[in-house]
């Protein structure tokens, strides 16, 4: 269980406590991505191992660190879970099921596969439709929730991703890249909640850069020869 956390001191305690309650037998790692608050201390106080970046690298960098940690500690599946409390650890078994059954390599907890309680802002929804379309065009598979931060990756995927991973937004381009490498993706309906506290990684300032970056990166992944 990998939790990328950047200044999440407010929501982290709730998330960690819920994790312990609902998934007590799962190893948890907090990747403190250059936080300037008590994020790392809060996790340590709860006995959760913490890997701390000296500077802020972004979600992608935090995940990459998490993958390498998981691989070095011999784990076969890595699960990404947002520290802000949006994701219910109670869905963990549903998320893991397709990987455990050997049906896919990456399992994505999706807000949109089935009708769930989640309603995103309009701009966000537009982006979701756009990048869902980009992924479908690129790999011929429908992934409705490309930005989900609740995903499970098997060992083979983590092996690749520990070296080659998008730095800031591990979304559509990552999924396209993985699909073209021959990994199978699957979506699992998940309910998401509003954030507990803190700031989303996707802030207003990034809202212009985000579509540009991910469209360009998606294109580049497509131009790259599948390997």
């Amino acid at each position: 269980m990998i939790l990328p956390a950047h200044n999440e001191e407010e929501s982290l305690p709730v998330t960690l406590d819920e994790l312990r309650r609902k998934a007590p037998d799962v190893a948890v790692l907090v990747v403190d991505d250059g936080s300037r608050d008590a994020t790392a201390r809060i996790a340590r106080e709860r006995g959760v191992p913490v890997v701390s970046h000296a500077v802020n690298l972004g979600v992608g960098g935090a995940l990459q660190t998490g993958f390498r940690w998981a691989l070095r500690h011999g784990y076969d599946i890595g699960v990404q879970l947002d520290a802000d409390g949006q994701h219910d650890p109670g869905h963990l078994h549903a998320l893991l099921a397709p990987i455990l059954r050997g049906e896919c390599d990456v399992s994505i907890g999706s807000r949109y596969v089935a009708r769930t309680g989640y309603r995103a802002p309009v701009a966000r929804r537009l982006g979701m439709v756009l990048f869902s379309g980009v992924v479908q065009l690129a790999v011929g598979q429908r992934i409705t929730d490309t930005t989900s931060g609740y995903r499970a990756y098997d060992r083979a995927v983590m092996e690749i991703c520990q070296y080659d991973f998008p730095k800031d937004f591990p979304d559509a381009p990552l999924l396209i890249d993985l699909a073209r490498r021959g990994f199978r993706l699957a979506e699992v309906p998940i309910e998401m909640r509003a954030r507990e506290a803190g700031r989303s990684f996707y802030t207003l300032g990034k809202s212009l850069y985000y579509p540009y970056k991910n469209l360009l990166a998606s294109l580049m992944v497509l131009l790259k020869r599948p390997g």
Partner: protein, 132 residues
């Protein structure tokens, strides 16, 4: 033989001055040879064009530019653009390396703390927080 225009002389002298300064930076090890190369070549080019009117004339005519001085500035601007692009590439690579190092450092620090045994809860992480 025509007289050199004032603009030509000034840009040529500036180019020579720049080349000397770049070489001095290299001598004092403030600038690596790799980066100095482009600067020296470029300032040499401007200096040559500044002194050699026929060559500058020929280039100006070929490019369809009206004034010789404009050619010098055009080439300078082209060089500056190329240099900026080159630096952006270098910066991207530096960023990637920095990224990888930060991740590896974090993992190594984790392992170090593990090896030292469980630290008492509530103690700040080694090296965390304060600036280096």
């Amino acid at each position: 033989m025509e007289f050199l225009s004032r603009t030509q002389i000034i840009s040529a002298l500036a180019a020579v001055g720049l080349a000397l300064y770049v070489l001095d930076l290299v001598r004092r090890r403030r600038l690596s040879e790799e980066y100095s190369f482009l600067w020296v070549v470029a300032s040499a080019a401007v200096a040559i064009l500044g002194f050699s009117t026929p060559l500058l004339r020929a280039i100006t005519r070929t490019l369809g530019i009206l004034y010789e001085a404009s050619t010098v500035f055009f080439l300078g601007l082209a060089f500056a653009t190329a240099m900026l692009l080159y630096l952006s590439v270098k910066l991207s690579r530096l960023g990637q390396e920095n990224h990888a190092l930060t991740r590896e450092l974090a993992l190594l620090r984790f392992e170090l703390e593990e090896l030292r045994g469980a630290r008492p809860a509530g103690t700040p992480p080694a090296g965390g927080g304060g600036p280096a």
